[in-house]
Symmetry: C2
Subunit: 658 residues, 2 copies
């Protein structure tokens, strides 16, 4: 009898070795952190004597699952926002929240939550890419899980580096300090071709080569990335990565959704691991990776969950399930990606994809004892068919769930036992995570209600606060307006003609204010040709009718250049009502009694009452000044022959809605 | 205070009512089988006094999920076979197994297993289509779940009806005997246009109208179905169903994968419910239903799991998740099918699709108390964001799992409480299910090893058992063969020339025998034009060399017309080796000394040694007769100038493999 530390016996042992060995009543013998033997229980139990023997009857023993691509700290952002376009997701939520909240504590806490979740579901190894990656490494190390931790570098400022030079320095320091660790492989992760430069990739390759660690990067996630890459560098993202030298060392390329035969040949010839993320690729509408094509082309393919902010779970079972189903459903061929091959993506093939096939990915003597034990005695895994030895793959891939995992071991050590986490206090982990989320929630709650905060959040807002004094009259005599403008006391400073397309976003609670998206086309001779887009927030005038002549006072008016699409703002502000107002405007900027005013003569398009309407407006910082300007506006109105009963108190948008 | 039976309090109540009301700390009051009130806990707890109050803190209360299409007894066939083409799945496995094993006990037991699984995951209502549907109804009734049970009718013989007339009678009897049941709606389910006739649909409509029950049918599941429908009746399956009158009454159309705008207009105008089955449609490579298009067109859309033999679970959470992800991933638009809409497919919209929106689908006073209570305190549902009231949909759809369901109620009655089934003994249900599966497993185990059984299983085999006596010689002198054929003692009965393309399926264990798929083209004048396809199983000759002249004796030879494709057989037999042999054959059927022989002169194509080869064969039932014929073959060989050292002992296929 040979002595070992641990025997797992009486289970269906799915080795995922090259021969596809399955032991119907099998056992695994473990000494220290390694697998010593795998075989029939009857044989193993005779040869080995263990300190501890665990009966795994009714279970399957499989290699621990490998999450080939993730951003584990983002578990704290799970459920933050969903079902919006990528730009809204990124610029409206992820970037503003990450820039405010991502720090060492965030990263450590988020990693703990993710490790807990992954161990709960039988994942024993992950490949990460995020900021403050030393905190990812620390939390992963404490959890006992295996990880490749990639310190992100990109050309933009990040939460942990003001420039990419700083990012590269940080990566070097991180790799250097973790280089001796057995379970944690520190590395550098140039984010993606579209966020990096040639220099970043080259420096990253040099660093990774120096420390003999694999390079982690995103490649070909979206159709847009492919399109722009072809336009800009006349190469696919994969082709670009090859050219820049990223594949001269072992590399892990996340996503590879928009790749073709030529890309696959490049990936295969350099031994690059391709790691699509089925759920995330679907949820962010990136597409469906060519799983079967990649596998057929001989590329080492893994699977990842991607960040939990776009998934929203870190459930490799889900990813395996999708990787098995999608190729069938989209090809009209149900034999594509059989269950065994799908499971390999998260085990044996996944290990190759992350360049760790010597250590993990299958249950074979000499490999690390990274193991998941999956209970199969549930309703949803009943009945069991044994006539076909490969039936176990089908059961694991199509029927079993994350929650069926009973034990998870890394390096021969139980990290999850009978569903209980041994290296972490799940309650405390959840509590810490929720505490950070509560802060973010507070920030977003305020921002979501406060339209100004939402505008500020996406940047570019003109934060000057302006009172607007305004009078508006209906059906004016244009000749009288012209006469007023021609008076000696009135100096015309500027004159223009425009078509303005205004879209108003309104809310059931009017106190939230109203956002206007304006597309302004000038068509007076010599004017700018390009339309001007502005975003304006107005909060309702609290002091209507305090001024003579029904003059309106708007408080808190904010403008910003609208450099995104109307669609972006519509999804971002999620208004309860949308109103469109189109008008032809003749505008005069005038000076009257040393004060500046704007005079607008407007004709509405496609409205029951098209006008013309007269508007006279002035802006000021001072409330006292506002009263004075209101008086002057009254004088100008009189000169236009407009009397109080002609003044109207609503905005065009209200007219349009009536 | 008003008296009620049950209060569920302190949960996030997701009503799925038309206004999309969500109570962050809400309660549901239940009296008898109905919901009496839904609102803030503070309010409900003040107004209602309950016999029992259940604190659902940390949970969401949602309407019980509706599985709009399934074949619940097929849970017993879960995992039976996967990753094969539909025809192999159907003709190789489902039909042979169903025809042998589906009876009342099978249906009752399978339904119990499915009800247990569905209740475990918060499904409170299902729409079924199977055989012996009265047993589905009985098991569902006992489980306490709500169901629409459709007795299948099709033009082929089924396990419960030798003809469709018998099927219609059975359906009528079934509906009649269950018509008064409150929770179980018995109905008729004409299987699909391609398995029914106009008469079946018309009779089904008449029956359903008579008893005021909805019609259940499959429509437009595969591209092939659509193509054949257009060819055969010049209408899409949906158009056909309309024409035949199936939509003159409330109808539930499963799948609707291959439908377009015109179909959607038909479905909407008749109020037909469309019920795609995301997992099954992917797994069987049927495709992806146009979820967003159907919804946008105003069709009432539900979701189903389909049969567990093609899914393999009955997990509506999975289906909701897929219904939310697929439209995004395949459209490049991540705003399609937002979480709230996806959840509606299994609740409010799903209820409309099955014509039960008056009773179920939302948590509103007056509706039945069909409820799922989902725990949200798991790692994978941490953290929670409340700033956006709709965030709960995202959490439920993208993060929560089947296993998170804590309580399930139907008609106000707990059927699952704290994860424990109250109306069924889960252990006993699993045991009964496994017992039936063990029988099927035994049948398949025997069949999979025994190639003959596999051939018999797919039908058409010529079961005559034949001894074949055969001698084969290499490099013969053709002139001597001709001289033999011209001898007076030899009568030529038939003569032909052919090209034969043979594909041999071999196995590591030679005792299993060898299967040959032959495509035989005649090209002598006047012969049949169409090639002939045959499937032949030969078991190795045990008694080689017992006869003089190295004559071979094959035992157990079986032939069947090969009416399926080579691809079908390749997947069905899953050989370990495939060998192709192509040859030109001149064949004479002769009579010599009153015995019949076949003489073949063969030239192999694309082989190192193309021949020609001479074969002389005879068949017999008798071993004694075989010896006699071997002697006669020896005489014929001599006349051809063939001596023993020219005789060869291998088959062409062995030559090809050498």
């Amino acid at each position: 009898m040979q002595a070992v530390d641990l025997l797992l016996i009486n289970a269906i042992v799915v080795t995922m070795d090259a021969a596809g060995t399955v032991w119907q009543n099998g056992a695994v013998a473990i000494r220290e952190r390694n697998i010593v033997a795998v075989g029939p229980t009857s044989e193993i139990a005779t040869v080995y004597h263990a300190n501890e023997t665990v009966d795994c009857g009714g279970c399957a023993i499989i290699p621990g699952l490998i999450n080939g691509h993730c951003h584990v700290p983002m578990s704290l952002l799970r459920g933050l926002v969903a079902d919006v376009q990528l730009d809204v997701w990124l610029h409206g939520y992820m970037f503003p929240v990450e820039s405010r909240f991502v720090d060492e504590e965030f990263v450590y806490t988020g990693t703990q939550l993710s490790c807990a979740e992954m161990l709960r579901g039988g994942t024993t190894c992950f490949v990460d890419m995020y900021f403050f990656e030393d905190e990812v490494a620390r939390a992963a190390d404490e959890a006992g899980i295996r990880a490749i931790c990639g310190q992100t570098v990109m050309r933009f400022p990040t939460p942990d580096a003001a420039s990419y030079d700083e990012g590269l320095d940080r990566a070097r320091g991180f790799i250097h300090s973790w280089q001796e660790h057995e379970r944690i492989t520190p590395t550098i992760a140039p984010h993606a071709p579209y966020t990096c430069t040639d220099e970043i990739y080259q420096a990253a390759v040099q660093l990774a080569r120096e420390y003999d660690v694999p390079l982690v990067t995103h490649l070909a996630e979206t159709g847009l990335e492919l399109k722009e890459s072809l336009e800009n560098v006349h190469l696919s993202p994969v082709g670009y990565a090859e050219r820049v030298g990223a594949f001269d060392i072992p590399a892990i390329a996340a996503h590879c959704v928009h790749t073709d035969e030529r890309d696959w040949a490049i990936l295969r010839s350099h031994g690059v691991g391709a790691v699509p993320c089925p759920s995330s690729n679907l949820k962010l509408a990136s597409g469906v990776a060519p799983y079967a094509g990649l596998v057929k082309a001989g590329v080492s393919v893994g699977l990842g969950t991607d960040g939990p902010a776009s998934n929203d779970d870190q459930d490799m079972w889900n990813e395996i399930h999708l990787a098995a189903l999608l190729p069938k459903g989209l090809s009209n061929d149900p034999t594509l990606m059989p269950a065994k091959q799908a499971l390999a993506l998260a085990t044996s093939s996944g290990a190759k994809a992350i360049h760790m096939e010597q250590l993990i990915g299958s249950l074979e003597p000499g490999k690390r004892a990274d193991i998941a034990v999956v209970a199969l005695h549930h309703l949803h895994t009943t009945p069991q068919y044994h006539y076909n030895p490969d039936g176990i793959y089908s059961q694991l891939v199509y029927a079993a769930h994350n929650a069926d995992v009973r034990h998870t071991l890394v390096d021969g050590r139980f990290l999850l036992r009978d569903g209980v986490l041994l290296t972490m206090d799940a309650v405390q982990v959840r509590r810490n995570a929720q505490a950070i989320a509560d802060n973010i929630n507070g920030f977003l709650s305020a921002r979501e209600v406060n339209l100004l905060d939402k505008i500020v959040a996406i940047g570019g807002v003109k934060q000057d606060e302006i009172f607007e004094v305004q009078a508006k009259a209906k059906l004016v005599d244009e000749a009288l307006v012209m006469a007023m403008l021609n008076r000696a006391e009135v100096r015309i400073d500027k004159q223009s003609e425009r078509t303005q397309y205004d879209t108003y976003f309104s809310f059931v609670n009017p106190d939230r204010g109203r956002v206007r998206y304006r597309e302004d086309h000038r068509h007076d001779p010599g004017a700018r040709l390009d339309p001007k887009y502005t975003l304006t927030l107005t909060v309702p005038a609290a002091e209507r009718d305090q001024y003579p002549h029904a003059i309106l006072l708007s408080r808190a008016r904010y403008t910003a250049p609208a450099d995104r699409s109307l669609r972006f703002y519509r999804e971002y502000f999620a208004p309860e009502q949308i109103t469109e107002v189109e008008k032809q405007r003749r505008r005069w900027r005038i000076t009257y009694r040393s004060e500046e005013f704007a005079v607008n003569l407007d004709r509405l398009i496609n409205q029951a009452d098209p006008g013309p309407f007269l508007e006279i407006k002035a802006r000021t910082w001072s409330e006292r000044d506002a009263a004075y300007k209101a008086k002057l506006i009254g004088e100008l109105l009189e000169q236009c022959g407009v009397f109080d009963d002609q003044l109207i108190r609503y905005e065009y948008v209200d007219l349009a809605r009536a």
